[in-house]
């Protein structure tokens, strides 16, 4: 039996985990549009401390507010990553020194290890679509919101040559936060990197 890919958004006890409610549908739309991956038409919300976390190969975490995981959440996340799961974290504040960035990177370090810069030649950028210059720049970066920086790299925790935690402070949560019906107004679909992330999580 071929199982469908289910896009899962992580619910954690602190902060605003539900700050980007339209991103899952948008990425599901893109995965369905460009790939033949069997995909569920709706995403799910999964508490970080729940054993159900293990059902999903890729989970998405975002927010603006400080992220303080409980012991149960931290243990569950470490176990999930040990067992081959992949966590995609996006800073909805697009900051390099904001509180979401500080706290979530601290939690990632405790659960999985320190983040390192992901080179722009990493296979993530060629897994499906090709991004020769690394991660695509978001309008949030270009219009000077957040930290007024265009971030050159994504960050990651890599184990055995495989990304287990992908961290972005480019604010893809804002960039991708629109209803998929509105994708037709874009000349270039800006969610293509999301497709790469999904394909990478499912194939590596």
């Amino acid at each position: 039996m071929v199982s469908e890919f289910v896009f899962a958004t992580v619910q954690y006890e602190s902060g605003d985990w539900d700050s980007a409610p339209l991103v899952p549908a948008n990425l599901i739309d893109s995965v369905a549009r460009y790939t033949s991956i069997p995909v569920s038409p709706t995403g799910v919300i999964v508490p970080l401390s729940s054993p159900d976390l293990m059902r999903y190969p890729l989970v998405y975490l975002t927010g603006h507010l400080p992220v303080r995981l409980s012991d149960a959440e931290r243990r569950s996340l470490a176990r999930y990553l040990d067992r081959g799961g992949m966590l995609f974290v996006d800073d909805h504040n697009h900051d390099v020194d904001g509180q979401f960035h500080k706290t979530v990177t601290d939690e990632i370090r405790r659960a999985a290890g320190p983040l390192v810069e992901l080179p722009n030649t990493h296979p993530l950028y060629t897994t499906f679509f090709h991004f020769d210059d690394g991660p695509p720049t978001t309008s949030q970066e270009l219009n000077g919101w957040g930290d007024n920086l265009v971030h050159r790299h994504l960050m990651a925790v890599v184990r055995g040559g495989r990304i287990v935690v992908l961290y972005s402070n480019k604010d893809y949560s804002s960039e991708w936060g629109y209803h998929p019906e509105n994708k037709r107004f874009l000349s270039v679909d800006n969610t293509r990197l999301g497709v790469n992330i999904v394909v990478y999580a499912l194939t590596r």
């Binding site: 039996m1 199982s3 469908e4 890919f5 289910v6 619910q11 602190s14 985990w17 539900d18 409610p21 339209l22 899952p24 549908a25 599901i28 739309d29 369905a32 549009r33 995909v39 569920s40 038409p41 709706t42 995403g43 799910v44 919300i45 999964v46 508490p47 729940s50 159900d52 293990m54 059902r55 999903y56 190969p57 603006h64 507010l65 400080p66 303080r68 409980s70 012991d71 040990d82 067992r83 081959g84 909805h92 504040n93 904001g98 509180q99 706290t103 919101w145 804002s174 209803h179 998929p180």
Partner: protein, 689 residues
């Protein structure tokens, strides 16, 4: 000098001789016993405990020997006995000395002359020689034999200490390996306050990460090579010893020694210094502040395994909403741990000083640092408490967001109004004519029915299915209305079994939709009861269910405050349309099948089986290789499979001792297994055979 005075002097000399004799025999007997132990140790290496027991035994033997010597010489305490002893050894005294000890009157002068005429020196010298000479001769013999023993043997017997295995000269040392005997000295970091430990013939060294390890052995012609994970470790030669010094790593490693004759593995098993455990006891839970004034007590308990360096409180205040947030970070309440293992952080937090604005969120946690100066410092933190300041008017709202209750329909009377109308009707019953009374009761019944339908709309819209009975009226309505609240609830739960709702684990497996609807379902049922009573013109009987309905609606309002926050909108992507492959209705999501359990356990099982195959070999090198394989498997298991590591440690110790390790290896095999399978259909008793 009179005869009595001479007698007393002899008595003193004989007493000294007895003491010297006792001491000599004590030293000699203890020396002989230790010599015996040293000789045995040369033939067969004796354990530290055996040699320590020998030392205690030698002390006991010395005391017994001294005691026997003193008992045998007990006669020196009596003048009469000493006088008789002299008379016995000097016959020329002719009992003059014994006689003088009693009053003899005029004959005393004659007897004194007889005694004065004898010389007592010779018997005294013979007594001294016999009492001390024999034990000293035996002592000298023992010392000569001890000198002839191999170097270090006497010291091992005389001062047995942990680590003196290297002092023993091995038999057949011509082609001996430098790894035959090794000793490890572990010096924990100073901050821990732990004492140094010496381990003989270590297979595993367990110590605090960062401890200094000094491993040494006997030097031979072959150089010793030491490696940790293919990294060379320096080995220096110092006289007759080689020595290797390293620091206990943070992760378990295998240390390999080789000298061309044999190789030897030592597992380095680090013990981590735990970070401080911080528990924020006050405030006990997250909260919403109605005002921005006042003081909040903060209490945190802090514990550490080796001592605390300090603790503090960390506050992050976030302001704003949507895409615009600002943050302020504060630290306060710094306390010194002073090296104590337990401490507390107490602070009153004045809210006025924080300049909070409506909508601000205060994230509060306690933190502590330990004294680890080697691999740390370890910093521990408590759970974070979130205190939010209410926005203006926020407390007046019934629903926060998500799925608000439907807007009030001005054409509908509220349940509270219907209760008031019914109460008024009951009061006016005696004054009213029958027909207007019936008409008024049925009018209220109609309003009650309309309100009930509106409640049904809310319930069944949330359940994701239409309320056919309410829309169609008639039979279906009666069927739905005839249900008990429990039946309705079961129907509601059956209707909410969607994947998305299942994922959200609310209280006791209850989906939020059902939790929200439970009081509304009660209200719905109560309204049915009220309508029936009003239709048959029994408004008194209608009032209790009407009040129950009102009370249930009030509870529903509270439930919505609790459960509806944070539910994002559910968007169902039309996959078929996106893929241009036809139509497909939004279906419930099926989770992807979990990946098969990692194959780590399978790989370890294969390694264990290979080691067991080697172990079954008849040759000693195969057994040694099997033990080394088990050691390396243990290093691999230490990080994430403690049960397996423990079983393997037991098996290795048992195998090294040459005993049967079946039980320990079975335990290791069991630790590698998956959870037992439960076969449905067989009772636990029936399947026992």
């Amino acid at each position: 000098m009179t005869a009595r005075e001479r007698l007393r002097r002899v008595q003193w000399l004989l007493g000294v001789t007895a003491v010297l004799s006792a001491a000599s025999w004590a030293v000699t007997s203890a020396t002989l016993l230790l010599l015996l132990i040293a000789c045995a140790d040369v033939a067969v290496p004796l354990s530290l405990s055996f040699r320590r027991t020998g030392l205690v035994l030698a002390t006991l033997v010395a005391l017994i020997a001294a005691g026997v010597a003193l008992v045998r010489a007990r006669g020196v305490s009596s003048e009469e006995s000493v006088a008789l002893w002299l008379e016995d050894h000097l016959p020329e005294l002719r009992y003059s000395l014994v006689t003088l000890l009693k009053p003899v009157g005029a004959a005393e002068a004659t007897l004194e002359r007889v005694v004065a005429g004898t010389r007592w020196r010779a018997p005294l010298e013979r007594a001294l020689l016999r009492a001390v000479g024999v034990p000293l001769f035996l002592l000298a013999f023992a010392l000569i034999v001890a000198r002839m023993l191999p170097a270090g043997s006497a010291r091992r017997a005389l001062t047995p200490v942990r680590g003196d295995v290297l002092a023993r000269t091995p038999t057949g040392a011509r082609n001996a390996s430098a790894l035959e005997s090794i000793v490890a000295r572990v010096t924990p970091p100073a901050y821990s306050g732990l004492a140094s430990v010496t381990i003989e013939q270590p297979t595993t060294i367990t110590a605090l990460a960062g401890s200094q390890l000094e491993i040494e052995g006997r030097r031979t012609d072959a150089p010793v090579d030491a490696r940790v994970d293919s990294q060379r470790v320096a080995v220096v030669s110092d006289g007759a010893r080689w020595r290797s010094t390293l620091t206990m790593p943070v992760r378990a490693e295998a240390l390999r020694f080789a000298d061309g004759i044999r190789e030897r593995w030592v597992v380095l098993e680090p013990r981590a210094d735990s970070v401080p455990v911080v528990t924020l006891t006050l405030p006990a839970r997250d909260s919403v502040l109605r005002t921005r004034a006042g003081r909040i007590p903060i209490v945190a308990e802090v514990h550490d395994d080796f001592g605390l360096a300090g603790g503090w409180l960390e506050l992050i205040i976030s302001s704003g909403d949507g895409e615009q947030f600002r943050f302020r970070t504060l630290t306060l309440g710094h306390t010194s741990g002073g090296g104590a293992r337990s401490s507390a952080i107490r602070r009153m937090l004045p809210l006025d000083s924080l300049r909070l604005e409506p909508g601000d969120v205060l994230h509060l946690r306690a933190m502590a640092r330990d004294r680890n100066t080697v691999t740390g410092p370890g910093i521990g933190s408590s759970d974070t408490r979130t205190l939010r300041v209410l926005r203006a008017g926020e407390g007046d709202s019934v629903a926060m967001e998500g799925a608000p209750p439907p807007a009030a329909d001005s054409s509908l009377l509220s349940q509270r109004m219907l209760v008031l109308l019914t109460e008024a009707l009951v009061k006016q019953r005696r004054a009213m004519a029958h027909e207007p009374f019936v008409n008024e009761s049925r009018r209220i019944a109609g309003d009650q029915a309309r309100l009930r339908r509106r409640v049904a709309d809310v319930i069944f819209a949330r359940l994701g299915s239409p309320a056919p009975g309410e829309e169609q009226g008639g039979v279906e309505e009666e069927r739905r209305g005839g249900m008990t609240p429990e039946q309705l609830l079961r129907a509601a739960e059956a209707a909410t079994g969607t994947a998305a709702d299942k994922t959200l684990d609310f209280s006791e497996d209850e989906s939020p939709v059902v939790a929200t609807n439970r009081p509304l379902l009660e209200a719905y049922q109560a309204m049915w009861d009220a309508s029936r009573s009003l239709e048959i013109v029994e408004p008194e009987r209608a009032l209790p269910p009407m009040r129950r309905a009102l009370e249930a609606i009030e509870r529903a309002r509270q439930v919505e405050r609790l459960y509806l926050r944070g539910r994002p909108p559910v968007i169902v992507v039309d996959l078929a349309r996106v893929r241009l492959s036809g139509s497909r209705e939004g279906a419930s999501a099926r989770e992807r099948t979990p990946r098969p359990a990692d194959s780590l356990a399978a790989r370890r099982l294969r390694r264990l089986e290979r080691a067991l195959t080697l172990l079954s070999g008849a040759h000693a090198p195969q057994r040694t290789a099997a033990i080394d394989s088990l050691l390396l498997l243990r290093v691999d298991a230490l990080a994430d499979a403690p049960a397996l590591a423990t079983s393997l440690a037991t098996a290795i110790d048992v195998l090294r001792a040459g005993r049967d390790a079946t039980e320990a290896l079975t335990s290791a095999r069991r630790a590698l297994g998956e959870a037992p399978l439960v076969t449905p259909g067989l009772s636990s008793w029936g399947s026992a055979w």
